[in-house]
Each structure stands twice: as C-alpha cells, then as structure tokens.
C-alpha cells in the first residue's frame, strides 16, 4: 500500500462511529489494520444508515412477493407491473436530520435524492409526495422549520417539473427537535427497460457523472446514525446544497442514455457517496471496482482520498458503461453540458480498490462493505404502560357547543386543509394530475393509455406510540382505504420507518411491532412491499420521536374515467355511511388531543376483514359509476370527513344535512376514528344500486343524509348538534393551517 497514509487505531475507529467489537471484526476479516481511507469507507458502510444493522432482521418479515412485482426491496426503488407493458417505480426515503440542520436545503435534497432513486431505475418520475412531522406551530422555530422545509421541497420538485400530488403533515411536541421529512417519488418505465444497480462484467468502465464533488455532507451517513446533541449544530460542513436545475439535466441525460443499451448498471450517489454506490454495485454483481479518485471531477482543491470517497455532494450518479461504448455516454452528457468522467473499471477480484495521487490508497472487499456488514438482534421490550386503557366518551364529558367543537377541530393544524402547503407545490405540471392534492389519494393518469396511478402516504405516530402493532396495521389500512375511495386497486407499497434509538429495547420493540402490524395488514390486502427506508436515532438530548411508520401505497385505476373524487357534487344526492358501527373509543384520537391535550389511550382496533370488504365495495361502486363522491373516515372521524366533502378543488362548495344513529355517544359518533368506514354520495336513483353492492360485499350501509344547501347540518341521536354555514366552516377548515403557520 503506497500513498503514505497514516494508520489509525481504535480511537479513530470509535470516533468514526464503529464499536470496539466492530473494529476488531474489521481487523480480523481484513487480516490487518485498515488505513484511514479504508476505515472511512468501512465506518460509513457499517453505519446504521447504510447497513441497516438493527433493522435488517425485522424487515425480512415483510411480504415482498406478488405476480406484479418486478423488483422488490434491495434496489434503488421497487417496481411493479401496472398493465400495458408499463411499470410503476417508486420509493419513500427520509431526510430528517438534514432538515433539522437546514430545513430548506435538507428537505430539498431529500426530494432530489428520492428522484434519483427513481430515474436510476430507468423510470421517468411522474409524481411526488411527502410526509412531514413538525413540532407545534405556536413555537416560532417550528414555524420556520415548516416553512423552510416546504419551500425547499417546493423549489426542488417544481423546478424538476414533477407534480407533488399528495402527502401528509402532523404536529407533535416530540418533533420540535426531531422533525421528519419523508419524500416519495413515483416513476413510470416500460417493464422491459428497468435498469439495475449492478456491475458484473469485468472490463466495463465506471463513470462519475453530474455535479462535481466537493466536501459537502461528509460523514452524513454516520451522522444520520447518531443521536443529536448540542454539538451537532456545530458540525457545519455537513450541509448539502441542492441544485434542481442540474438534477433536471442529469435526469434528462440519464433517461436519454437509457433508451439505448450502453449502460450495464447505474446507481445514484446518496449516503456515503462514491463508496456506497461503487461497493453496492460491485457486490450485487459479484465483481470488484478499481477507482482512480484523481479523475473524479472536483469542485474544491486538495481533497483527501477519504473525503472524495465519502462526499455526499448532490446530483451525482455512478454509471457502469459497457466497454467500448464510452464515447456514446460522453456525447450525451456533453449535449446536456454535464461532467462525465471515466473514473474506474469493473474488475473480477471482488475488491474496491482506490487510487489517489498516483498510488493505491485502499483496498477492501466489496462484500465486507455491504452484505458482510454486521447485523444485530437487539433486545426488545414492551413498555410497562402497554397495553393502554380504552378512552370512552363518557369519561370525557361533552363539549358545551358542538358547532364550536367542530370548527375548532377542523381548523386545528392537525386536521385543517393542507392547501397552505400544497399550493406551494406545482401539482399540475405534466397535465396528467386528475386528482389534485387535498383528496384521499393523488392520481396521475398516463397519457396514451386509460391507466391512472393513485398514491397516498399515511402513518399516525400517536397510534403507533400507544400500540405500534395497531398503528402499523392502521397505516396500511388507511392507505389502502384511500386508494379504494378513488376507485384504485393497490399494487405495491413502500415504507419509511422513523424511530428513535434502536439501542433502547423499547424502541426495538416498537419497530418490530410496527412491522408486524404492517405485515398483517399488507398480507390481508395482498399488497407487497417493494422497498423503503429506515431512519433510526431520531432523538435529541435523549428525547425520541413517536414511532412513525409512514406507508406509501400505489394503486392502479384501469380506466381513469371511473375516478371518484371526494367532494359532494349535486344538490339532492344521498349520503351513505359504509362500514361497521363505530366503537365508543377515542384513544389516541385528534379529538382527545385537541380538546384534552392528551395523546394516550388505545388506538382503534384495525378490522382487517371489514376493511378488505369495504375496499372491494368502494372499488365496485366506482367501477360501476354508482358513487359520485367517496371519502374515507380517519383522523377527526365523521365530522372531518363530512367537512372535507364540502369543498371542491376548483373553489366551489356545497352543503349537506346528515343524521347519525344512536349506537354510540355523540362525541364518538362525530369524532371517533374507528376504521373501515367511508362516506359515499350517490344520485337518488342509484341508492338501490349502492345498497346492492354493499350487500354483495357484506358491508353495512346506512343512509345518513343528503347533499345540498348552504350549510353543514348534523343531527346526532335525534338532536340538532351541528348547524354551520359554509362560510364559517370554510374559514376554519380552509384557512386554519395558514393562520397557524404564519402566526
């Protein structure tokens, strides 16, 4: 080994985030002490972020198979067949820690990263979504984080020309120091043109393309695997600045290249940059890589080998080009005015060998960096408080004024319309968005086909905190219910598991129980997981987040003309409530939080069988053109669903009069969050048809009212409980979030 690299010891290994045992293991496997570059690569690749060492065993339990699955977990993104020779390629990924350090750039680069994961597979991105969690908006810092993150997401997605069609936002105290930003992207590719991140042909040339490499984000991977403390704010050099303009060019160049066959494999550069992308590609193909760092286009001078190896400069890709086809690649990138440098070649020795300054400065087996990284079975333990008691309406007392209660709830940051946020996202570019954000699911059509793709992100940290198994199942249930509401059939799911410190047995238990609940629901609905992301150590000064699994489900509409929207359409239409009677339960609900400041209690029981039947009924109603509107019941219960049904995206609105039965107390009837329910409106002439479909699927269907008028009226158990003009509802619901966010 030349290059005069100093040989670090245990102290450096610990500082780089390895444990003493891991360091010992590395020395044993290498048969020697790693030099500084090797240690840098190994510590980054053995970090939680890159190795999944705490979560790998748990993730193995997900269902990942199905006839439609073209690519399950293990690649940059998952892929499922959607008919007409096309594939949907999608994934969700977290950018939590970077967002806390710098909300605008942190969130923006999260979008950039997930887009690269999708176009790396050869798919043209057609839609974006994001799931956000911030602390309460009465704290100015949280307002700044929200507005910074939203502006960053907006700028990146808008500049790329990809519509952001959905997402979700929640506010909890635990996120004041640990905000979450999970970004989702979906692309479309011909099924036979999907590219993989794999290098298996020695002699092929490795290209580094896109942006130049600088010192940004170095150690991002190990940072994302460590808890925050005061000192973290001083770690200034980690901020990466996104350049959506450059990424747009990179995307177009890559997609152009992918129409031909010069590429053997391709991988974007994210965490641990060159190291991770090259080691993963080679190890998937059982090959090695020889890389000459001197040839990497650099933005700064005097970068050390380990800095080049770990840099997380954005908007870069590693391409493996079939030998002899290099000029083709160079020509495409020249046309797009982008750097494309041949930096190495594929070898047969299984090693990642690195040259710098004219000599070899490191050599590590690729598999030691990837598959052979450690995997842990960490201890798990349920908290003593589990299971939580039920919370019944009777023990809470009723609100004095139902009108004010409804206004307060639907105007609260957790439930108010998200338009303050999604109006900052271009959700119409590409002229394919046929269900705009604000509904249960965003839907984009595929021009030239009758197909539509529906998508949604869901997850409720309060539910998961109190019962992670239920929380996981409810997240999947709600996502699939959202898709059914628009008439779509779920074909695949992705997920982002946001949790605290896995070295705490309780956190490991939450993780395992969440995955168990998700798995049960995914199994019941027959939806495979095709990929995802795990973000652990979401803790600051020992304070962790609510366990927050975010589930993204993608569904297909075989005929977009059957799309059902969520808003009421016409005076005189009848409103039906589908699904089982509600329980008298308010545990972990929005109502309990907004009116009693409590996050405790048992979340609703997931009724997977009832869910499955409801989803089938909703799809049948859509396909047969019976339902004119459909809206699932979830957070905020029936009152919230009714309010959301009043407002159409074009700015129009229409009232409704509802009457609810007497099986549960009024509070639960209005605000209970029992699962497997939906509000559907039909023309009066189709009421019988609805009843027949509901009966066929054994779904209880009750007529609860009719559409029309200038107000929302709800009778509960015979009493006129709610009577609100549309103006008053609009003022709370449509503007509540903007008021809180700008305060």
């Amino acid at each position: 080994m030349s290059g005069g690299e100093s040989v670090p010891g245990l102290e450096e290994a610990l500082a780089a985030g390895l444990t003493e045992a891991e360091y010992g293991e590395i020395r044993k496997r290498l048969g020697r002490t790693p030099n500084v570059n090797e240690l840098a690569m190994l510590s980054a690749m053995w970090s939680e972020h890159c190795s999944y060492k705490s979560s790998k065993r748990i993730l193995a339990g997900f269902p990942t198979e199905g006839p439609q699955v073209l690519q399950g977990p293990g690649e940059n993104a998952g892929a499922v067949a959607i008919g007409r020779g096309l594939a949907a390629v999608f994934k969700v990924e977290s950018h939590n820690h970077p967002t806390f350090i710098e909300p605008y750039q942190g969130a923006a680069t999260g979008v950039g990263g997930i887009l690269r994961d999708v176009f790396t597979m050869g798919a043209r991105p057609v839609a974006l979504m994001n799931a956000l969690r911030f602390g309460p908006l009465d704290i100015p810092k949280n307002r700044a984080l929200l507005s910074g993150a939203v502006a960053g997401i907006a700028n990146y997605g808008n500049s790329m020309g990809i519509p952001t069609v959905g997402g979700e936002v929640a506010f909890e105290t635990c996120h004041s120091l640990n905000p979450l930003v999970n970004a989702f992207a979906l692309g479309v590719a011909p099924v036979d043109r999907i590219f993989l991140a794999r290098a298996d042909h020695p002699g092929d040339t490795v290209f580094c393309v896109g942006a130049k490499t600088g010192r940004d984000g170095i150690h991002g991977a190990s940072m994302a695997s460590a808890e925050f403390d005061e000192a973290a704010e001083a770690k200034l050099p980690t901020v990466q600045v996104g350049d959506p303009f450059l990424e747009k060019l990179l995307m177009e160049a890559c997609l152009e290249l992918m129409r031909g066959d010069a590429l053997a494999g391709v991988q974007d550069m994210g965490a641990a940059g060159l190291t991770c992308s090259s080691a993963e590609m080679a190890s998937r193909g059982g090959a090695g890589i020889l890389m000459d760092l001197d040839r990497v286009p650099q933005r700064e001078t005097g970068m050390a080998a380990w800095e080049l190896l770990l840099s997380e400069s954005q908007e870069r890709m590693l391409l493996v080009v079939r030998v002899g086809r290099e000029r083709e690649v160079e020509r495409v990138f020249e046309r797009w005015d982008l750097d494309a440098a041949a930096v190495g070649r594929i070898t047969g020795d299984g090693l990642l060998r690195v040259r710098h300054g004219g000599g070899e400065v490191g050599a590590v087996p690729c598999r030691l960096l990837t598959d052979e990284a450690p995997v842990y079975e960490r201890p798990r333990a349920a908290p003593e408080s589990f299971p939580e008691p039920e919370v019944r309406a009777g023990e809470l007392g009723e609100p004095a004024d139902w009108n004010r209660a409804v206004l307060r709830l639907v105007g609260s940051p957790g439930l108010a319309s998200r338009r303050h946020i999604y109006e900052q996202y271009d959700h119409m570019v590409r002229s394919d968005t046929i269900a705009r954000p604000g509904g249960d699911a965003g839907v984009v059509r595929i021009k030239g086909t009758p197909l539509g793709l529906a998508m949604t992100l869901d997850g409720n940290g309060r539910y998961s905190l109190r019962d992670p198994r239920r929380g996981g199942a409810l997240a999947v249930s709600e996502a699939c219910r959202n898709l059914a509401a628009v008439g779509a059939t779920p074909v695949g799911a992705t997920n982002c598991l946001n949790f605290g410190n896995p070295e705490k047995p309780e956190v490991m238990w939450q993780l395992a129980e969440s995955v168990r609940g998700m798995t049960e629901a995914l199994g019941a609905f027959g939806v495979p997981i095709t990929g995802g992301n795990v973000s652990l150590y979401n803790e600051t000064d020992g304070e962790g987040i609510f366990p927050t699994p975010v589930v993204g489900v993608v569904g297909v509409l075989d005929d977009v003309s059957t799309l059902v929207r969520q808003h009421f359409v016409e005076e005189g239409d009848l409103v039906f409530l589908l699904g089982p009677d509600a329980d008298d339960a308010l545990g972990a609900s929005e109502y309990l939080k907004v009116f009693h400041g409590r996050t405790d209690g048992r979340p609703p029981a997931p009724g997977l069988d009832a869910e499955l039947r409801l989803h089938a009924a909703l799809r049948s109603l859509a396909a047969a053109g019976i339902s004119r509107s459909a809206k699932d019941l979830s957070e905020g219960g029936l009152a919230q669903a009714a309010v959301e049904s009043l407002f159409a995206p074009d700015g129009s609105c229409i009232g409704a009069s509802l009457a609810l039965g007497d099986s549960v107390p009024a509070t639960t009837a209005l605000f209970g969050e029992a699962s497997a329910r939906a509000l559907v409106s039909v023309r009066p002439a189709r009421a019988d048809a609805l009843a027949a479909v509901a009966e066929r699927h054994r779904v209880p269907a009750r007529r609860v009212g009719r559409v029309g008028g200038e107000s929302l009226r709800i009778r509960v158990n015979g009493d006129e409980a709610v009577g609100l003009s549309l103006d008053r509802v609009a003022d709370s619901f449509l503007h509540g979030l903007a008021r809180a966010a700008r305060a």
Binding site: N155, M428, V429, S431
Partner: protein, 233 residues
Amino acid sequence: MARRRFAIPVFPGTNCEEDVLHALRAVAGQEAELVWHQERSLAGFDAAVIPGGFAHGDYLRAGALARFSPVMEPLAAMAESGRLVVGICNGFQILQEAGLLPGAMQRNRSLAYVCRDVWVRTEETGSPFTAALTPGETIRLPVGHAEGNFHLPDRDLERLEAAGQVIFRYSEPDGSLTEAANPNGSRHHIAGVRNRRGNVAALMPHPDRAWEPALGGTGGLRLFESLVRWSES
C-alpha cells in the same frame, strides 16, 4: 384550413414543453415541434410558443439567463417579422428579459410559489391569446409560479394601458378586480400583455394545463382556439 407549424423552444430547465406540445397537436390540431435552445434557425415555423418551467434554473432572475441561448436570435427575428411569438409563465418572463415584452416580474407578494386556479378577465381581443374571446369574458385557469408579480414604472404602465396592451387581468369570476383574486400582487392585476403590434403576447396562467374536465377545467381551450384563429388571420 392550413395547419400552422409551431416551434416550442426548449431551454435547459424548461418543463412544460410536453404539455404545450400536446395541447397544440392533440387539442388544437396544429403542427408543433420541440426546438432545442441551441438551434440558430426557426426556418419553416409560422409561430412559436415558449413554454413554462425554469429555464437555466431561473437562476439570477426568472428568464434572465435564457437570453444567452442561441434560439433567442431567430425568435427575435420572428417577432420582428410580425409572426406569432407567445409565452406562457416562464415564457412570459423570458420574453420580458429579452426585451420583447414590457415589464419585469418580481417575486410573488406572498414570497411563495403559488399553484392554484385563478380567474382572468379578457381585456381586449386583438391578441393571439384573446382573438376568440369576448371583452370582459372571464376564464378559470391554473397558475404555477414564484415570480409573477408584474411590475412596470408608473409612466410606462400608463402607456401600456393607454395602448390597450393588457390582455388579461386577474379577477373574480364575475370580472371584478379584488386583492384576493390577484395571486401574486401584480400591478393593475395584470396577468397577460402583448406588444404594440399585437404579434407577441404572454400570460402567467397555464392554458396548457386546462383543456379537459379531468384536469379540473377547460379554460385553456379558448386560448388555444385564439392562437389558431389569430395565426390564420
């Protein structure tokens, strides 16, 4: 009826070119081709529509760096020769920065990107975008921009108004002009303008996103109809 041939200049960072292409071809039934910004000639084209997006990243100012693209020369010549040159959104900003249309765009008053439906009121019908409309007619169209706050100094603005160069204003559905209906703070609620001669025009809202009910509106159809009618006259 002879079909016209439209050029759609595409700059690095443009992102609505496919929408405009589709609207011109499939919806308006015209011939249309994408033209990469490095082209030095627009021979064979009757008209040009500059689409929306973020040309050159919209870095420095929206539309500012596009003027360096070679295609701007034949485009200016096209405008000079009286042929139709129109811009949508970023295309508006590019035409302003190139000096082909008056005014400049400031950041939206809200300082945020805004994507939603707005109403615009037709101010005159001598422009390529309004030839098929009636004065005072209001249309619902989507906007999507961060810098659409039209500015012109007082004197120039008066001249613009006097010459009838304002083609659209943001309004309520009934045509009244209110602050709430103005999505970006534009002076005089201006949403679209034309040059004196009338052959160069642009607007901030996106007719290319509103040509069938599934998209949430069909307001854009009338504008494409106008383009076709104007280019035939």
